[in-house]
């Protein structure tokens, strides 16, 4: 299956996994940091929201390194598109377009709701796919195993409901 991005062929999963491991280990070995992206949401929140939760040490001291990392993620995506066929804004959403077929306004609402769950859920769980799923599991942390099972399980159930019950599509 090609990527939505310019129908590019995906990297081999073993190569991609190896690359992600390399980045995770470099972050630890060079900079003494544990990989984790979702705390970055709090870093951004802390720039504008006055609640004591956003004044904690982990957030304030994390900003100086996590915000450049997050900026790098955006740049990496930009470079990938630019080098892989040219950067251009798009609304293309793969199977969503085929099975559900809603336009941009409904996509914005759909994505905003998804984002709400992601922002609230990751911060309640104390991490996301990177902090729990990769670093936490690799560091043999039990809370990370519990969290990873929870989010994978919930994702599986949700997608099954969306694409096998609510908007079933032949061939999926």
């Amino acid at each position: 299956m090609p990527l939505i991005l310019h129908d590019l062929p995906p990297l081999h999963w073993a190569l991609a996994g190896l690359g992600i491991a390399g980045v995770t280990l470099a972050l630890l070995f060079l900079a003494n940091r544990r990989l984790g992206i979702s705390t970055g949401f709090e870093d951004v929140c802390s720039l504008v929201l006055p609640f004591p939760y956003f004044k904690r040490g982990a957030v304030v001291s994390g900003r100086e390194w996590r915000l450049p990392l997050l900026a790098g993620l955006v740049l990496g995506g930009f470079l990938s598109a630019a080098l892989g066929g040219g950067w251009q804004p798009t609304w293309a959403l793969g199977v969503f377009d085929q099975a559900i077929g809603w336009g941009p306004a409904a996509k914005v609402a759909w994505m905003f709701v998804g984002g709400l769950f992601i922002g609230f859920g990751t911060r309640l769980a104390g991490g996301c796919t990177s902090g729990h799923g990769i670093f936490g599991l690799a560091n043999l942390e039990l809370p990370s195993l519990v969290t990873t099972i929870s989010f994978l399980g919930a994702g599986i159930v949700t997608s099954q409901i969306v694409y096998r019950v609510l908007f079933p599509m032949v061939g999926l």
Binding site: M1, L3, P10, L11, W13, A14, A16, G17, G19, T24, L30, N32, R34, I37, S38, E42, C45, L49, F51, P52, Y53, G57, G62, P68, L69, L70, G72, V74, L75, G76, F78, S80, T90, G94, V108, M111, G114, G115, L116, I118, G119, F120, R123, A125, G126, C128, T129, S130, G131, I134, L137, A138, E141, V146, T147, F151, G153, A154, G155, S159
Partner: protein
Amino acid sequence: MTRIYLILGIVFGFILSRSGAADYDFIQGMFLFTEFQLYGIIAVAVLVTAPGIWLIKRRGHTIFGQRLAIETKPFHRGNVAGGILFGIGWSIAGMCPGPMLVNIGEGKLYAIAALAGALVGAGLLGSLYPALQRPFALPPLKLGTGEG
């Protein structure tokens, strides 16, 4: 150091973009059991990172001689409840936090709405933290739910 973080972010972002981890169809394929790709990526990433962390911890210092200081994540009821909420969101949006930013960089406009939602969601969690602490047995406010 800022440059190191930026470069690592770019490499990470490029890999996420080209591997399917930032691709709605591959995420649905993972949750619908029609694509092995994402399971393979996560498994290899964890299996290679694990011995790497073990080796770096055994050494006890970073390459620049700084003492290794990594906090482990606390256990609380938010792990399950938050994990479930996040999983629902991951399926709906087809992206987790890192890929959300990658998608924005790629030019996928809907990802901006996902990021806006995520920031509002994180803001809500932070503002409600004192009220959520008891029901979810969350750590003291100055620690939070865990860095990651």
